[in-house]
């Protein structure tokens, strides 16, 4: 039960981090330069963007929940379970970021989940 709750926390925090990070970066706008001067001013904008910073916070929650659950559960169980994040992130992209997710994209994501589950078998 404890494990299931923490895995749910990992999956949802990771997906929330993805959605917030994307929202923040879309607000910053397309990065199309490698000039250090411009990148520095972008970095300043990024580090004051509320969406970006909340995204980082969620990634921190993901990371520490992951470490915690690994202190008693097997990685070979936890890792495939967290592959659900691909599905939840995509749902977030569809419903919160209004991205169009075609059938082919869903099919690809499904194969990825299945593949992650298989690579995690001993």
């Amino acid at each position: 039960m404890k494990t299931a709750i923490l895995i749910a926390v990992i999956v949802f925090a990771d997906a929330a981090g993805d959605v917030l990070l994307t929202r923040g970066m879309k607000q910053i706008g397309e990065i199309s330069t490698i000039s250090p001067k411009v990148l520095l001013s972008i970095a300043r904008k990024v580090l004051t963007n509320r969406n970006f910073l909340s995204g980082i916070l969620f990634f921190a929650v993901t990371f520490f929940s992951f470490l915690t659950v690994l202190s008693w559960a097997d990685l070979s169980f936890v890792f495939p379970a967290t592959s659900l994040v691909y599905v939840v992130s995509t749902l977030g992209a569809k419903f919160m970021l209004r991205e169009t997710v075609s059938f082919q994209r869903w099919a690809g994501i499904f194969l990825v989940c299945l593949g992650v589950a298989l690579t995690s078998l001993p």
Partner: protein, 131 residues
């Protein structure tokens, strides 16, 4: 093209970073406490390089999200699992079973499907001052 280049670089940085971290952590003698382990880790070049590479991965990931769909970038970088499996076998000499390779094959097919959908399918609503 830019998207593919950035994502390829991101995935390579991530996989190489993981190999460095794994090597670094194994070189540590088994420490008695988590604090002892941490202070040993701070002195290990492999762990520093690994951490720097993972930071580089995060910057490239965020940069790609500044123009590409999240539902494109996330499954696209899942190819990292395949590269991690390959690197684990090649550099760390970990045994990789045929079931794992089958999983890697499925991930690769999935990633190819996603890559073929194009990096941006719809304009997102969240541009400008809406949020």
């Amino acid at each position: 093209m830019k998207t593919y280049a950035i994502l390829a670089l991101a995935v390579l940085a991530q996989a190489t970073g993981n190999v460095c971290l794994s090597r670094g952590m194994r070189e540590l003698s088994s420490a008695s406490s988590i604090f002892a382990l941490f202070s040993q880790a701070v002195g290990s070049p492999a762990i520093w390089i690994g951490t720097a590479l993972l930071l580089l991965f995060f910057f490239l990931f965020a940069a790609a999200l500044s123009w590409a769909d999240l539902s494109f970038v996330v499954p696209a970088i899942s190819i990292e699992v395949v590269i991690n499996v390959a690197f684990a076998q090649y550099f760390l000499k970990e045994p990789v079973s045929s079931v794992r390779w089958l999983g890697a094959l499925l991930i690769s097919i999935g990633v190819i499907l996603v890559l073929r959908t194009g990096k941006q399918t719809g304009k997102s609503e969240i541009e400008g001052a809406k949020i």
